[in-house]
C-alpha cells in the first residue's frame, strides 16, 4: 500500500516575545513562564493542519539554543569555545515534553538537533584548535541529547546547513555518532545548494533526507543522477520569501518529486525553519502546505 505523504516542519517558527512582560517579571520577582511561546508555535502548526510539528525552537536561534546549555561554550557575539564541550543537562527535552502535552494524538512531534558540524563552524574556537576534535565532542554531546529525545519524540531531525558549503571527510562518521542505534526514525536536513554532495548525502546514516527543493528546483535534476532508496522530505514552500505559494503550486512542485523519487517521498515541508518570516506568512504557508498534502493524499 502506498505510504501516506506527511506534512512536516523543519524546526523554527516565528513567535512574538513580550519583553515588557519578561521585564515586569524581573521587577515583580515573578517567574515568567516560556510555555506561552511554545503554545503560540504549536497552536499555529496544528491549526494549519501539519502532521509532524516541532516545539518551534522558540527560545533562541538554532546555534545558541544548544551552545547556551553545553559545557565549554560561552555566548558572546558568536558562541566561543572556552573548554571541553560536554552535555551537562537536558537541553530541549522539557520543551518537547510540554509540546507533546499540547498535541492532539494524531499529530507527531519532531525533535530538532542542530548538527555538530554547523555548531563547530558557527563557533569561535579558543580551546581545541582542532576542528575535527571539536566537531566530534559536539556530536557526542548531541548523542546524549538524542538518547533523551528518543523517548519523547516521533522523529529526530539533525539540522546541518553548513554541509552544503563544506562537507568534511568525516561527515558520515559525525552523523553516525548521533544516529547509531537510535530508536525513532532520523532525518538529516541540509538546506542550501547540495548538488555537489548528493553521493555522500544518499549514504548518510539517517532514514530521511530533507532539502530545499523549492528555492533550488534544479536539485530535482541533480538527484536524478544518483538513484537511491533513501526516503525524502521535499522542501515545498520557501522560507526566505514572503510570497505565499498557492496550494496548486505546491501540489505541482511535489508531483515532480513523486515522479523522480518514486515511492520514497514521505514528507513535504518548508525549505527550512520559518523563524525569519512574519508569523502570518509562516502560518499561511503551512496552511497551504497542509492543504496540498491532503490533496496529494487523495483528500
Amino acid at each position: 500500500m502506498k505510504q501516506k505523504l506527511k506534512t512536516s516542519v523543519i524546526g523554527s517558527y516565528p513567535i512574538s516575545i513580550n519583553t515588557q512582560e519578561l521585564m515586569n517579571g524581573y521587577f515583580s520577582e515573578q517567574q515568567i513562564s516560556w510555555t506561552q511561546y511554545i503554545e503560540q508555535a504549536i497552536q499555529d502548526m496544528t491549526a494549519a493542519g501539519i502532521n509532524i510539528v516541532s516545539d518551534g525552537q522558540t527560545r533562541d536561534p538554532f546555534i545558541q539554543l544548544f551552545t547556551r546549555k553545553l559545557q565549554g561554550c560561552r555566548i558572546r557575539e558568536r558562541t566561543e569555545i572556552i573548554g571541553r564541550v560536554e552535555h551537562q543537562s537536558p537541553i530541549i527535552i522539557q520543551d518537547q515534553i510540554y509540546a507533546r502535552r499540547l498535541l492532539p494524538r494524531h499529530v507527531e512531534l519532531v525533535g530538532v538537533l542542530t548538527g555538530p558540524y554547523t555548531l563547530t563552524k558557527s563557533s569561535v574556537d579558543s580551546y581545541y584548535h582542532d576542528e575535527k576534535e571539536l566537531a566530534f565532542d559536539f556530536a557526542k554531546a548531541l548523542r546524549k541529547e538524542a538518547e533523551l529525545l528518543g523517548k519523547r519524540v516521533d522523529l529526530i531531525s539533525i539540522d546541518e546547513p553548513v554541509f552544503s558549503n563544506e562537507l568534511p571527510e568525516y561527515a558520515t562518521e559525525l552523523i553516525q555518532t548521533i544516529t547509531n542505534g537510535l530508536s525513532p526514525p532520523t532525518r538529516l536536513h541540509v538546506c542550501g545548494d547540495v548538488s555537489g554532495i548528493i553521493p555522500q548525502l544518499v549514504d548518510m546514516p539517517v532514514d530521511i533526507l530533507s532539502h530545499e527543493f523549492k528555492a533550488s528546483p534544479h536539485l530535482f535534476d541533480e538527484f536524478q543522477q544518483y538513484p537511491s532508496r533513501k526516503h525524502m522530505c521535499i522542501g515545498a514552500v520557501r522560507s526566505d520569501d514572503v510570497a505565499v505559494e498557492s496550494v496548486e503550486e505546491i501540489v505541482s512542485h511535489v508531483k515532480k518529486a513523486l515522479v523522480l523519487f518514486d515511492g520514497n517521498v514521505v514528507q513535504i515541508a518548508p525549505d527550512c525553519g520559518q523563524r525569519l518570516l512574519p508569523r502570518n506568512i509562516a502560518f499561511q504557508k503551512l496552511k497551504n502546505l497542509a492543504a496540498a498534502g491532503e490533496m496529494l493524499n487523495g483528500g
Binding site: 516575545i17 519583553t19 515588557q20 512582560e21 519578561l22 521585564m23 515586569n24 517579571g25 524581573y26 521587577f27 520577582e29 515568567i32 527560545r59 533562541d60 536561534p61 545558541q64 547556551r68 560561552r74 555566548i75 558572546r76 557575539e77
Partner: protein, 300 residues
C-alpha cells in the same frame, strides 16, 4: 581588590563624578524615595537633608532615586525636586510603567531638568514609544539594566548589553547610544536567591573589564528576597545595609541601596569600605584617591 586593564570611563553627571579604577572615586549611592504609598514630602525632605549632610562629612555622594508609581505623582514629585534638591545636583527617576516614563520625560524636558536626570532605566522591556520619547527628551545619563531572562550569568548579562540576546534587534548599549545617551551606568540586575543571585556581584568586574563603564547594582534587593531572613528580624537590617559592601569590594562604582531611610547606616559603611579599597589600590596599583574621597576626608 584589583585594577582593570581596560581603560575606565569617568563621567561627570551634573557635577557628580562616577566611574574609574577602584580606589579613585568614592562609591556613589542611590537612595530610594516614594517606593510605597502616597509620597510623603516632609519625610523625604528630612531624609534628603540627612543624606546631604552625610555626603558632605564623608565624601560619599548620595543621589536621590525618585520612584514614580502613578501619573498623578509626576507633577508633585518633579516640583519637589525643583524646590528641594540642590540646584545642579543630579537625581534619578525610577519608573516601571512605560507610559509614566514618557509623561515624566516630557515634564522633565519642559522644566529643564533633563541635564540633571539619571534615567532609571533602559532595559529589554523598552517600548518604541519610550524610545521615541527618549530621543526627544534625552536625559544626561541612564542606568542600563543587564537583565537577560535567558541567561542570568555574567556572560548572559554581557550578551543582552551586546546584542540583545536575540530578544531585541540591537544590544542595550547600542540602543542607548542610538538614542544619544553616552553616560551609561550598567546595572548588573540582582536576582533572588536561587536565581544565580551572586552573578550580579560577579558581573561587576567582568562588565567593567569588558566595557570600562561605571557599573553597580541594587544588591540589597537580594536581601529583601531572602525570605528566610524574616526569621532573623534583628539581623535582617544589618545584612541589608552590609550587602552594599560587596559592590566596592568587587570593583563596582555605585550601589542602589534601597530606601533612603538607611542612608545614615549605608554612607559610613561605604566610606569605610572605600577607604579599605583605596589604601590597597594606591599601595599596589598606584591609584590615588581624589580630594573628595572618604580617605582624604576622614583620615587626616
Amino acid at each position: 581588590m584589583f585594577s582593570f586593564t581596560k581603560e575606565q570611563k569617568v563621567f561627570d553627571i551634573s557635577g557628580l563624578t562616577i566611574g574609574g579604577q577602584p580606589g579613585m572615586y568614592p562609591t556613589v549611592l542611590f537612595g530610594g524615595l516614594f517606593f510605597k504609598g502616597e509620597p510623603d514630602f516632609d519625610d523625604a525632605k528630612r531624609h534628603l537633608q540627612t543624606s546631604y549632610e552625610h555626603s558632605k562629612r564623608t565624601g560619599v555622594p548620595v543621589i536621590p532615586d525618585f520612584f514614580i508609581r502613578k501619573v498623578e505623582y509626576i507633577e508633585p514629585i518633579l516640583s519637589f525636586i525643583e524646590k528641594v534638591v540642590p540646584k545642579k545636583h543630579p537625581f534619578s527617576i525610577d519608573i516601571i510603567e512605560p507610559s509614566i516614563k514618557i509623561q515624566t520625560l516630557e515634564q522633565l524636558g519642559s522644566r529643564k531638568l533633563l541635564p540633571r536626570t539619571i534615567y532609571n532605566s533602559i532595559h529589554i522591556g523598552m517600548t518604541k514609544e519610550e524610545n521615541d520619547a527618549l530621543r526627544t527628551y534625552t536625559p544626561e545619563a541612564a542606568i542600563v539594566v543587564a537583565f537577560n531572562p535567558k541567561d542570568k550569568s555574567p556572560d548572559g548579562k554581557i550578551e543582552v548589553l551586546e546584542n540583545g540576546a536575540h530578544l531585541l534587534e540591537f544590544g542595550l548599549l547600542d540602543i542607548a547610544r542610538r538614542i544619544g545617551i553616552e553616560k551609561l551606568l550598567i546595572d548588573t540586575a540582582a536576582l533572588a536567591p536561587g536565581e544565580n543571585s551572586g552573578a550580579a556581584i560577579a558581573a561587576l568586574p567582568v562588565i567593567k573589564e569588558e566595557y570600562g563603564l561605571p557599573t553597580g547594582c541594587a544588591i540589597h534587593n537580594v536581601v529583601e528576597k531572602s525570605r528566610w531572613l524574616n526569621d532573623f528580624p534583628f539581623a535582617k537590617k544589618t545584612v541589608d545595609v552590609a550587602s552594599n559592601n560587596a559592590i566596592p569590594l568587587f570593583g563596582g562604582d555605585y550601589a542602589i541601596f534601597g530606601p533612603i531611610e538607611n542612608v545614615e547606616l549605608v554612607v559610613p559603611l561605604i566610606a569605610w569600605q572605600d577607604i579599605l579599597v583605596s589604601e590597597y589600590t594606591e599601595n599596589y596599583f598606584g591609584i590615588s584617591p581624589v580630594a573628595s574621597h572618604p580617605r582624604r576626608k576622614l583620615l587626616k
